[in-house]
Symmetry: C2
Subunit: 121 residues, 2 copies
């Protein structure tokens, strides 16, 4: 079973974390052809954290997990922190295929999204 | 003169901040019909900060500034920190029309962008 895990930074504002959880649920509807499970987790300041959310996927039967970093730029979180936390779980579950996808700020369509906000408003 | 100011979080990694500056420059080409100037600034950990980047726009002749928060969720930064820093400059320059646009994570097309990453990879 193929799982998608959206990893966001996490906030002290519960409503911000809830926003990410709801986004992941809406995303599930758009990617259901590929992923039978879509979960969300947080790097810090909120739960489930990366380890907890990966383990939830595995407990639900995931044999592969694609991790989508919900981050905008290749700062320390994207380059170091998220991969390190993911790797710890991966090392403990060698039979699960784990892949980190491009972070959301890295794709060309981000420019179109930004231009859309600017020109519409 | 109408200016667009992209405000990102800022990172300890210089390359991450440079990524944002380059994104703003590429965005300038897409929104040139509306904005004669596009700048970038950072909430923390990098310069120019919000005050410096807004003042640069004003010094360049901006009579209005649209601020685009390059953030993904409505955490403390989007709800409190960015508006507070913007308001300080706005209060000192009442003749400049300043508007904060929707943050990038708030628009429906974010879901399509994320689905695109997941289904393409």
């Amino acid at each position: 079973m193929h799982a998608l895990l959206v990893i966001a930074h996490g906030s002290r504002r519960a409503s911000s974390n809830e926003e990410v959880m709801q986004l992941a649920q809406r995303l599930a509807g758009q990617v259901s052809s590929k992923y039978q499970l879509v979960e969300a987790g947080f790097l810090e300041m909120a739960e489930p954290d990366i380890a907890q959310s990966m383990q939830a996927c595995i407990a639900a039967g995931a044999t592969s997990i694609d991790v989508l970093p919900y981050f905008l730029a290749a700062g320390k979180h994207v380059v170091t922190d998220v991969p390190e936390d993911v790797e710890k779980v991966t090392a403990a579950h060698p039979s699960v295929a784990v892949k980190i996808l491009p972070y959301v700020g890295s794709v060309p369509s981000m420019l179109d999204l930004m231009a859309g906000i600017c020109l519409q408003d």
